[in-house]
């Protein structure tokens, strides 16, 4: 299944909704999309991933990219992750640099 994504920016909060599968085939395009956030005043990036079923290394790298390139002070949230996605995030240690929530609490 392909990736569907949607990005909204409100009050410095970038809300990125992802559905489907974030893998090597679509991570590049998605990263290009995220690059649009560089230089904007952003305090939080919130990945809404309730409907994301699969994430591969390339996808995780995009999230790392978000943290590293959009701004060191930006807080990254991963919200509503399914178990399979959450597992990969935890095992690879990425849970330490994002806040994991069931519902976005801000």
């Amino acid at each position: 299944m392909d990736l569907q994504y949607k990005m909204e920016l409100n009050d410095g909060i970038a809300r990125v909704t992802l559905a489907g599968s974030l893998d090597a085939t679509n991570a590049g395009n998605f990263q290009e999309e995220l690059k649009k956030l560089i230089g904007q005043k952003i305090s939080k990036i919130v990945f809404m991933v309730k409907d994301l079923t699969y994430i591969a290394s390339a996808g995780l790298r995009v999230m790392i990219f978000a943290k590293q390139r959009i701004g060191a002070d930006v807080q990254v949230y991963l919200v509503g992750a399914q178990e399979a996605v959450l597992d990969v995030v935890k095992m690879s240690g990425l849970d330490t640099f994002m806040t994991i929530q069931k519902e976005f609490e801000g």
Binding site: A56, S57, Q68, M91, S92
Partner: protein, 702 residues
């Protein structure tokens, strides 16, 4: 300043934009705008970079290195605008095929980069590979973006370590481990609370570098199931972690998973030592196949006979040419990489005596590789532990070239303690040396650091339960007619070969296990415990389970409740060791006054029996009279009676009004066999202690 790019392409090949690369570092390295590929070969006449899309059967590109991209013996190239996360790479080398002169170039083969940081091809453990794959072990490019936060090497003093040797898969593969991802790095993390509770503070991981579990795989004559290269003492890629050990291996995230596991272990005060196998590779002998080194520069990487055959000091077909300067540097680069990029705390070198042989196989007195490692600045705080022997007959326990930095797996400790435990007479003298950290082996060199890693069991040989349950090995399931595995087990089955219903036999076995645990954990030096021994793990008499990826090898965690008393005994002994600084003393410094007064006793105090008939010995540790700590730290007295009859031991007197208390007595049934440190029980009789048959007592004077 952002996105400044200093590099730009100067060459092209078809659609690919290129530039002469940087020869160093070797391997594939991300540089602004592209990837720098660099590979050494002294004798290759031509080289090309072969690129595959992930998992594709055929390469999508092959880019020859132009002459101007070779500097000396190094081919290097920067490839721009490459989707580095989705490619796999290898090299094709041309050169002479002339085995008599050591050359085996074959331009039909695609070769793995010896410096590959990620290797795909065996991504999921045990998944049958496609045998027609033209390039089964493929290099991948690793992004260098793991966030270590404030993590660093723990630098726990060597003498304070309690090492726990484990096989990553075997530790949690059994369903009884009750972890989410059995047999993986991630599952070790789930077991950290258990490890902390046990009290160990160092994991020694059996090989985690890339190996091929399907190497030499065959069917078991006993069960008919496929036997795999389960242990992995056979290297495919020295720099790359084994993907099949990672739950995320199928996503190519094995490096992150291992790093995260190490980081979490460090957070919990547990060091990580890797078992590294630099003595041979998985390419085998003349009849072996091409993976990497053989096709890249056979003559440099391997020790060859004058006729061009492979020397076999490893017992595995070939011998890595460790004291060739190129190979030596590769080993150094590799160890530095594991330290800087994985925060590893130390290494145990498999068959390390090979690392001290020259290019013709002769042992050297000051092997340059071992010296280099001993003095390397980046490895400066690493534990370096040698398995100080090889399969070619070189045995260097006590004489391994150390420069004061190398410690050794003390094989003599294992053998002497085992003989003493089974009741062989005349070992009191040897055992007294072993328990004091083997000064007879290590004092001459005045090593200041701990030199002796004490162990009674390790992955090679019987588990502790099997050591007290079998007189002989039972390796039929390995398919080698029971001819593999050691015969010098010094084991005793306590009266019945294998599992039995006899209550007395089983009680004795448990007692012998406790005896072993007590002796190991009161010995000076660094103790090492084989994972599972603390709850009586059995391999049903198999003393060489290298190919048994099944319940024979996997730890059965149900035994934890069945053998709770063994587990408790180990746990309390470890706690006792931690609470007793005098037991963790291990300096051999010449002319320095020893820190601890160790005195030896027999059934009469101050009068040890060193005769050839002795099966008993006792010792006392206390601080010297002039040492202020003498009044703070309790005195320790240990009596070991390995005779089949009970013996009374006269206890040495105490000063300062101290009295003897019992910490452990293996002659007693659980729960009276051991207490928690600090809760020792005052003895009624302060002069004399009747030690039961084949029993050990540990007393404290306080």
């Amino acid at each position: 300043m952002t996105n400044r790019i200093d590099l730009h392409p100067t060459h092209s090949h078809g659609e690919f934009k290129l530039r002469a690369g940087k020869p160093l570092p070797f391997g594939a390295t991300l540089v602004p705008g592209g990837v720098n590929f660099s590979v050494f070969s002294r004798y290759a006449t031509a080289c090309s970079l072969v690129l595959f899309k992930k998992h594709a059967a055929q390469p999508f590109a092959e880019i020859p290195f132009p002459r101007e991209f070779r500097t000396g013996n190094v081919f290097s190239m920067i490839l721009f605008d490459v989707d580095y996360e989705n490619i796999e790479y290898g090299y094709r080398m041309d050169g002479p095929y002339d085995p008599e002169n050591g050359h085996r170039f074959d331009k039909e083969k695609i070769l793995l980069d010896p410096y590959a940081k990620l290797v795909s091809g065996r991504d999921v453990w045990g998944k049958e590979p496609d045998w027609n794959n033209i390039f089964p072990h493929r290099g991948q490019i690793l992004a260098d973006d793991f966030d270590w936060e404030d993590d660093c090497q723990l630098e726990i003093p060597f003498e304070d370590l309690v090492i726990y040797e484990m096989h990553v898969r075997g530790f949690t593969a059994h369903a009884s481990a009750k972890v989410k991802h059995p047999g993986t790095f991630a599952a070790i993390r789930d077991k950290i609370p258990y490890l902390k509770d046990l009290g160990i503070n160092c994991l020694e991981l059996m090989p985690v570098h890339t190996f091929d579990e399907f190497e030499n795989s065959k069917l078991s004559p006993v069960t008919g199931e496929r036997l795999l290269n389960y242990w992995g003492y056979s290297n495919v890629g020295f720099f790359a972690p084994k993907a099949g050990f990672a739950a995320t291996g199928k996503f190519g995230m094995q490096a992150d998973e291992l790093k995260n596991t190490i980081k979490t272990l460090h957070k919990n005060g547990i060091e990580v030592i890797l078992d590294v196998v630099f003595n041979h590779t998985a390419e085998g002998n003349e009849r072996g196949h091409y993976i990497s080194y053989r096709g890249i520069d056979n003559k440099t990487y391997y020790m060859l006979t004058p006729e061009g055959y492979y020397y076999n000091f490893s017992g595995c077909g070939n011998t890595l040419n460790c004291n060739n300067p190129i190979v030596r540097n590769m080993i150094l680069d590799c160890l530095r990489y594991w330290v800087t990029d994985y925060h590893v705390d130390g290494f145990r070198f498999d068959l390390a005596a090979i690392l001290g042989r020259d290019q013709n196989g002769a042992p050297m007195s000051s092997p340059p590789l071992l010296e280099t490692l001993a003095f390397d600045p980046i490895l400066g705080k690493c534990k370096l532990i040698a398995e100080a022997w090889d399969a070619g007959g070189l045995y260097q326990v006590g004489s391994f070239p150390s420069w004061g930095r190398w410690a050794e797996w003390n094989g003599k400790y294992r053998d002497d303690l085992r003989k003493f435990l089974k009741g062989e007479p005349g070992l009191a003298g040897a055992v007294s040396q072993r328990i004091q950290g083997s000064p007879d082996l290590y004092q001459w060199e005045a090593r200041e650091n701990c030199a002796s890693v004490n162990f009674i069991t390790c992955h090679d040989g019987f588990t502790l339960m099997d050591m007290v349950s079998y007189n002989g090995k039972h390796n039929e399931a390995n398919g080698e007619n029971n001819s593999d595995g050691g015969n010098d087990n010094h084991s005793w089955n306590c009266g019945w070969e294998g599992p039995c219903d006899d209550k007395e036999v089983n009680r004795l076995r448990i007692r012998q296990i406790k005896n072993a645990a007590a002796m190991l954990l009161v010995s000076h030096g660094t103790p090492m415990i084989l994972a599972g021994d603390e709850f009586g793990n059995t391999q049903y008499g198999n003393n060489n389970a290298y190919c048994q990826d099944n319940e024979l090898s996997w730890l059965n965690w149900e035994q934890l409740s069945e053998n709770a008393e063994i587990h408790n005994f180990f746990r309390q002994m470890i706690a006792f060791r931690k609470a007793s600084p005098m037991l963790r003393y291990s300096s051999y410094a010449m002319n320095a006054a020893p820190d601890v007064e160790v005195s030896w006793h027999g059934t009469s105090a101050w009068n040890a029996d060193w005769s050839g008939a002795a099966r008993t010995v006792a010792f006392m540790c206390r601080r010297w009279q002039s040492d202020e700590r003498r009044t703070v730290e309790p005195d320790i007295y240990v009596a070991m009676n390995m005779h089949w009859d009970a013996h009374g031991f006269e206890l040495p007197g105490l000063d300062n009004g101290r009295r003897w208390h019992v910490f452990a007595n293996t002659g007693m049934e659980s729960p009276d066999d051991i207490v928690t440190p600090g809760n020792e029980i005052l003895l009624d009789n302060q002069q004399y202690f009747m030690v039961g048959p084949r029993s050990v007592i540990v007393l404290v004077g306080k």
